[in-house]
């Protein structure tokens, strides 16, 4: 049995929608099979009004044990740090977030908005938004550098735009089944079990990456999306090609370049003209190389790949 409270700040509800796609366990299974007591959720909650405010206050005071506080969306600070542009239950949402985070055993930030600020924090960041413990790559965020929940863990960041339902449910189940101690976090406080590997890990286009065969345009039946179409799969930490989306596919499998949405910089280059779906190059080389590869290594890899490329690599492979 674990009490869970889920609130939304500067959010689109995409993480909630993603969460509701879950199976094994489904959202209902979490409640009926895993003893997750959903104290309240914007889409699923049953206690509302005065009852909701009482729950919030009881969580803050400790009258209700708040085991897991899930936050989706940015912390909105505008205008002038007051947070009045996002009011909730009669006061700026940021005030609730502060008090509930201090009361919770575990604080989980779901999605890019809650982790790093995401799309709303894109320049010029009109709503003065930030994540719970980061603003983009900068450590601190709304709760501050030293923040630790009562369990001793900092905010558990489950990024992605949106986060995959399994990333969410597995972390909740881990906490609910007493395995929180096994959750190892990386430097951005992401669970390593999901975010150590790359988006490219398991991509169906890996052979084309290896032989440097490019998908030069959309709608092609072959080729790697990294060389021309701006794919960030080799530099992005996510299990998108290990744990498939909607049980079926992934963006790179379907032909869409990875946007790097589990990384703090998303959306990259602040969407400046010329940067969307186009690989950025410097002197003919990709500006962002696969993680850990330097220019010399890249040149060597390219030469070897071109020499080794078999004829089939240039032909359609994902055929009808």
């Amino acid at each position: 049995m674990a009490n869970l409270l889920w609130l939304q700040g500067g959010a689109c509800s995409g993480n909630t929608m993603s969460f509701l796609n879950a199976e094994e366990p489904s959202a209902c299974d979490l409640v009926t099979d895993f003893g997750i007591n959903v104290l309240w959720h914007p889409s699923l909650g049953v206690e509302l009004g005065d009852n909701l405010q009482k729950i919030l206050r009881d969580c803050v005071s400790g009258a209700i044990t708040l085991d897991i506080f899930v936050f989706e969306g940015t912390v909105v600070n505008a205008p002038d740090g007051t947070g009045e542009w996002n009011r909730f239950a009669g006061r700026p949402m940021k005030q609730w977030v502060r008090e509930l985070s201090d009361a919770a055993s575990f604080v989980v930030a779901i999605g890019d908005c809650a982790t790093w600020g995401g799309i709303p924090a894109t320049a010029p960041n009109p709503s003065d938004s930030e994540g719970l413990q980061f603003l983009k790559r900068e450590y601190g965020g709304f709760l501050g550098q030293g923040f630790k929940a009562k369990s001793g863990l900092p905010v558990i960041n489950v990024p992605g735009c949106p986060a995959h339902p399994d990333w969410i449910t597995q972390i909740v189940v881990a906490v609910a089944t007493g395995r929180a101690g096994d959750i190892g976090l990386d430097e951005f406080q992401r669970p390593k079990t999901f975010f150590q590997s790359f988006t490219q890990t398991g991509c169906t286009r890996n052979m084309h990456f290896a032989y440097k065969v490019s998908a030069t345009e959309f709608g092609q039946r072959k080729g790697c999306l990294y060389y021309d179409l701006g794919c960030r799969g080799p530099m992005t930490h996510s299990p998108c090609n290990r744990i498939l989306w909607n049980r079926q596919s992934s963006k790179t499998r379907a032909g869409m370049p990875c946007l790097g949405c589990t990384e703090p910089e998303f959306p990259f280059f602040d969407l400046a003209p010329g940067t969307v779906f186009k690989t950025q190059t410097v002197m003919g080389f990709p500006k962002d190389m696969p993680e850990g590869v330097d220019k010399k290594g890249y040149i060597a890899m390219t030469a070897a790949a071109k020499n080794a490329a078999p004829a089939w690599a240039e032909q359609d492979i994902f055929v009808v």
Partner: protein, 531 residues
Amino acid sequence: MAVQTLDISPVGRVEGDLDVRVDIEDGVVTNAWTQAELFRGFEIILRDKDPQAGLVVTPRACGICGASHLTCAAWALDTAWSAEVPRNAILARNLGQITESLQSQPRYFYGLYAIDLTNKKYRGSSFYEEACKRFAPFTGTSYEKGVTISGKPVEIYAMLGGQWPHSSYMVPGGVMCAPTLTDVTRAWGILEYFKSEWLESMWLGCTLERYEQIKSYNDFMAWLDESPAHANSDLGFYWRMGLDVGIDKYGGGVGRYVSWGYLPHEDKYQKPTIDNRNASLIMKSGIYDGATDTHLTMSQERARENVTHAWYDEAVTDQHPFDRTTKAVHNNKTSFDEKYSWATAVKDIDYGRLEAGPFARQMVAGGHQGEEWQHYDPLILDMYKSMGGPSLHLRQIARMHETIKLYRQAEHCLREFKLNDSWYVKPTEKDGRGWGATEAIRGALCHWIEVEGGKIKNYQIVAPTTWNVGPRDADGNLGPIESALVGSPIADPTDPVEVGHVARSFDSCLVCTVHAHDAKTGKELSRFRIG
């Protein structure tokens, strides 16, 4: 979790916060104000960005209608860049849009709407016990099935776009994907599963073919009486309980309706322009004016926004979205005589405030405007006339009625793909103005874009919730939800579930906080979130 007794009906609705204030006099709502309480400034973020930034940013305006935003963003750029869009790509976009909408049907109906029928207010109804059994959150038989199966249709979306929500697979000139035979066959399998496990077995209690024979109110009543399987299906049960508890008696609204139309025909919109869109749509656009029983075709130049009562520091005269500048006021103090919402008041140049949504689409579908070949469906308009006008109950019936049509359109897409033909024609980027529109499940959505100097000069979005939840306009005319709330009976002012019914029947994309006020004393009776 045990089912909890609800003093206040549940289900917030996502997408920021909406406050509703209602005045109640002698048990009836006499005045209402709707307030959108979250501002993120997507139009401001998009300024000076890459022309294609809208493909990444706007699906993230709404995690529920992301495919619909993406559809608008892509068609807007197509028209601005004079792109050619191959037949397959039109079908692949339509299929994405449709699967998102199919997803929303059981998720919305059970997850957000039908829970209200388990409110203690209805304890006296002979349907109450059965309603709790079916619709109680998490544990209700229909709730659990419906919410879980809602994830299935968007598995098809993931085959096209890699994931739902938040893909950007629709791009000017077509789509990023090139589906293969196995994608198509798996998609058929998923559709069949959705149909056999829920749509026919649980929702209709009959085959799609039998349901499709219903063309009028009388046909529907005959269908209901035809078999216990019909009467006891979730549709039959909801219909009967709705009438029993009287939700067919209020929540009507402004009585004028809008749809941009949607699903461009794969053979008719390969060279898209703003002007040739209307004649290219399978589901036609239109306005329906209930008072004069008039249908006409809708077009983007008829739309206006007014910020007299919205927190924007712009001209208070009606503006076309191309002329908006999106300047937020700094101090968003609530003043019901002045400004009280982040939503603007959207209107038509002649017909003023219009209701958007699935109900509006069906009212529009019942007219003979547009092209001879376009979709025509008289059922909901006939129900509206037979039942004496609009109600929140009929709004639900209209919404769920569309499910069957969406299902058929999904089949059409799968049947029409020509797998060896092209999916993308690379367009030439250029400056210009574009407009893209569709119908998100909850209503009329469109994007205006102006590209200048290779970057976005102006990007404007008018969402269905903007139409429905907007505040008063310059002349003091109430918005559609404000209008629908007026006249609602309130049995228990400390638990005005009726207000929840009305607001939720629009599937507004916001979380509402209701402040119920006694009109005579001004005393605040209760506050709670609805959606």
